[in-house]
Amino acid sequence: MQISSDIIRGHLDGIILKLLIEKDCYGYEIAALIKAQSADTFTIKEATLYAVVQRLEKREMITSYIGTKSKGGQRRYYKITTFGKAYFKEKLDEWKTLKTLMAQLMEDDNESN
């Protein structure tokens, strides 16, 4: 089943920050990783992704530096900041709350029954 990008858009910040907590990535690497991890359920529009990355940088949640790829040319790598990590934690809590709420609202026989 394909997930519409409208639903996921609000969570892109969190998804990208999560990747950057694990390691520094360059723009296309982020897109490729998300594509690989989500298999066929969701294809992120690269245009959207790059916009979110730029926005995160503008809001100082990530910073960038020019680095060299293990084999290959130079890339602009993005690195999460302390502020970014704090924001991610907030986003994660928000997501957990939302997940519980949606389960309560949309699924039949939940725990309360």
Partner: protein, 144 residues
């Protein structure tokens, strides 16, 4: 690689411009070029790689969607701040002029030895004008 630059510049041409676009445009070109490099490393020739990068990019609308509202809000906010700054500057100059006149009148017409330094009281009143504008400006700047 020229193709990537042309592609991105064409995209931005169709949108309303703002100052930050130049930076965004340069970053976008860089990201797409990196992607082309990656694709080339994985075996595609340059032409195919550029084509793939452009096709997979999508529309500029997708690029702007995540922060369309925020962009508009920020633009408006910056405009208001500019206005308030001008207002403040105007009020400061005008207050200085008026206070200057008061001091002049105090010194040469209704003199201190007769009436004391009375200009202080109306001057304090006048200074509320720039103070109020400063308050508004700082409030606006403090908003997110």
């Amino acid at each position: 690689m020229k193709a990537i630059e042309t592609f991105v510049k064409q995209l931005f041409k169709r949108k309303f411009r703002n100052v930050e676009d130049d930076d965004a445009q340069a970053k976008l070109i860089e990201m797409l070029k990196e992607k082309v490099e990656d694709l080339k490393e994985s075996g595609l020739d340059e032409k195919e790689a550029i084509h793939k990068a452009i096709v997979e990019f999508g529309e500029l609308d997708d690029y702007y969607k995540p922060f369309a509202d925020k962009e508009v809000r920020r633009y408006k906010r910056n405009k208001t701040i500019r206005h308030y700054t001008n207002d403040l500057l105007f009020s400061l100059i005008a207050s200085a002029l008026i206070i200057g006149i008061l001091i002049f009148v105090n010194l040469y017409y209704i003199q201190p030895d007769v009436a004391g330094h009375w200009f202080v009281i109306p001057s304090l009143g006048i200074l509320f004008w720039p103070a109020a504008l400063l308050y508004k400006l700082l409030n606006k700047k403090g908003e997110k």
